[in-house]
Amino acid sequence: MCAHLSHQSNLVIEGLHKSFPTRDSEVVALKEINLTIGEGEFVAIVGASGCGKSTLLRIVAGLENGYDGAVSLGNRPIAGPGLDRGMVFQEHRLLPWLTVEENVAFGLNGRANGERERIVREHLALVGLSDFAKAHPHQLSGGMAQRVAIARSLVNQPGLLLLDEPFGALDALTRIQMQQEILRIWEAERTTMVLVTHDIDEALYLGDRVVVMSSRPGTVKRIIHVSLPRPRDRSSYEFVQLRKEIYAEFFSEAEKPFAYAI
């Protein structure tokens, strides 16, 4: 991984500090965040609700303004949204009045018709939904809709894909399927991925590194390198040990839940 760290398209976050004003004071959402993510890396950020992990992702996406510190991608400071970054949200955010293929094409600007069709076709095939091109979002299951959202986020071939709890609203079985799916896409596309989640298993299953964040203010508590080969076995000894370690960051000894596997 060290070889990557010097690469041109690193995401570098330095001394990031973000607070939101409330009526009579302000809430510190992120405090002194330093993080460098190499090209092609899969980083999972795990933390409790309200720890600022989503805010961090939104800053990288260029959706939030007014922060202290520096955030740059490939040595260029981030000053708003750009096609070099894609994003998948917790809700699929598909336009309900457009078909699946129109939704995927939504992000494509100024391409010739033939090229647009080709790109849409390829990306629907990538997420395994070629047969649903003409369907409308309300005809899809939650997992399928999220696949379409992933396809849409990839059409401009962003170097960096930001995933904001993308499987949080799915049932447990679909979630596992989608984790395998995103891994397959990552291996096929080699896009750098930053995933925000509150699911420790998900973070461990996917990430090259797992960034553990603390709440209020949101800080990086610990970074764990996961060197287990993929696909990872969630019930393997090493996996369970790592899970225990991360649990320990969140819960005191007494209330540490027993290890489980689905």
Binding site: L63, P81, L95, W97, L98, F106, N109, H138
Partner: protein, 263 residues
């Protein structure tokens, strides 16, 4: 409990539920007349109203009145729809335009179209133009207000998606803003058409010699309460038909939206 699922029986049951109350009211109305509780000059019974309607229809007068009223309403409503939609979309998209126009819209909106009659006559004379103007006023405000509201309610989540994908402004308006505003716009169109149709009586107060509104006003001077009721019911029935037509159009345009239909 087993529910009756025979679709044919269900249909008949729903039709009875739909028409039942109207039939009961008509029967009660007729019965009160036969029992001598109401004088026909105050409130003629349904049977007499039906006969009067049939006579007016046979003479061709009714068709002529309805035709001219519908034409006036379509003219006034058409102008209101075109102006209301374009201005509504423009104001909805521009905060500056909104600040420039909001006060004048909010002040003129509550003035009932009927209060405009003196000015309408001064400006447009007593011909068709002044009538169409009155109807236009009635339809314009529901359409523009609902259009502005609809555009303002554009989902922030979709705005973020469009920003991340750098969707150009024009396509953003076409693919995100306007489809999102369509349910509100259709409500404006429906309410606008309804108010336009309700304004037909007010418009035909202006030196009219035809139209359903004229029919009512003329009968009023001659104390023909049965003709008045024929005119009123005609307005009601045609209004209902127009609304059903628009609802059907709405369903086709907004098929992606699964609305709550009630228990």
């Amino acid at each position: 409990m087993a529910r009756d699922t025979n679709p044919r029986l269900q249909k008949i049951k729903h039709l009875l539920q739909y028409t039942g109350l109207s039939v009961v009211i008509l029967a009660l109305w007729q019965a009160l007349f036969h029992l001598g509780y109401i004088k026909p000059i105050i409130l003629p019974p349904p049977s007499q109203v039906a006969v009067t309607f049939w006579d007016l229809l046979k003479s061709g007068a009714m068709t002529r009145h309805i035709g001219i009223s519908v034409l006036r309403v379509l003219e006034g409503f058409g102008i209101a729809a075109i102006l209301g939609l374009t201005l509504g979309i423009a104001i909805g998209l521009s905060r500056t335009l909104d600040r420039l126009t909001d006060l004048i819209i909010q002040v003129i909106k509550p003035i009932p179209p009927i209060a405009w009659i003196p000015l309408a006559i001064l400006w447009f004379g007593i011909g068709e133009k002044s009538k169409v103007y009155i109807i236009f006023l009635g339809a314009f405000f529901p359409i523009i207000i609902n259009t502005i509201d609809g555009i303002r309610q554009t989902d922030q989540k979709f705005v973020e998606v469009a920003r991340i994908l750098e969707v150009p402004r024009l396509r953003f308006v076409r693919q995100v803003v306007i489809p999102g505003a369509l349910p509100a716009i259709m409500t404006g169109i429906r309410v606008g058409l309804m108010v336009a149709w309700m304004c037909v009586v007010a418009a035909e107060l202006i030196a009219a010699s035809s139209g359903v509104g004229y029919l009512i006003m003329d009968a009023r001077q001659l104390s023909q309460s049965d003709v008045v009721i024929v005119g009123m019911i005609t307005i009601g029935v045609i209004g209902k038909l127009m609304d059903s037509l628009i609802k059907r159009l709405e369903k086709r345009l907004i098929s992606w939206k699964a609305a709550f239909a009630g228990d």
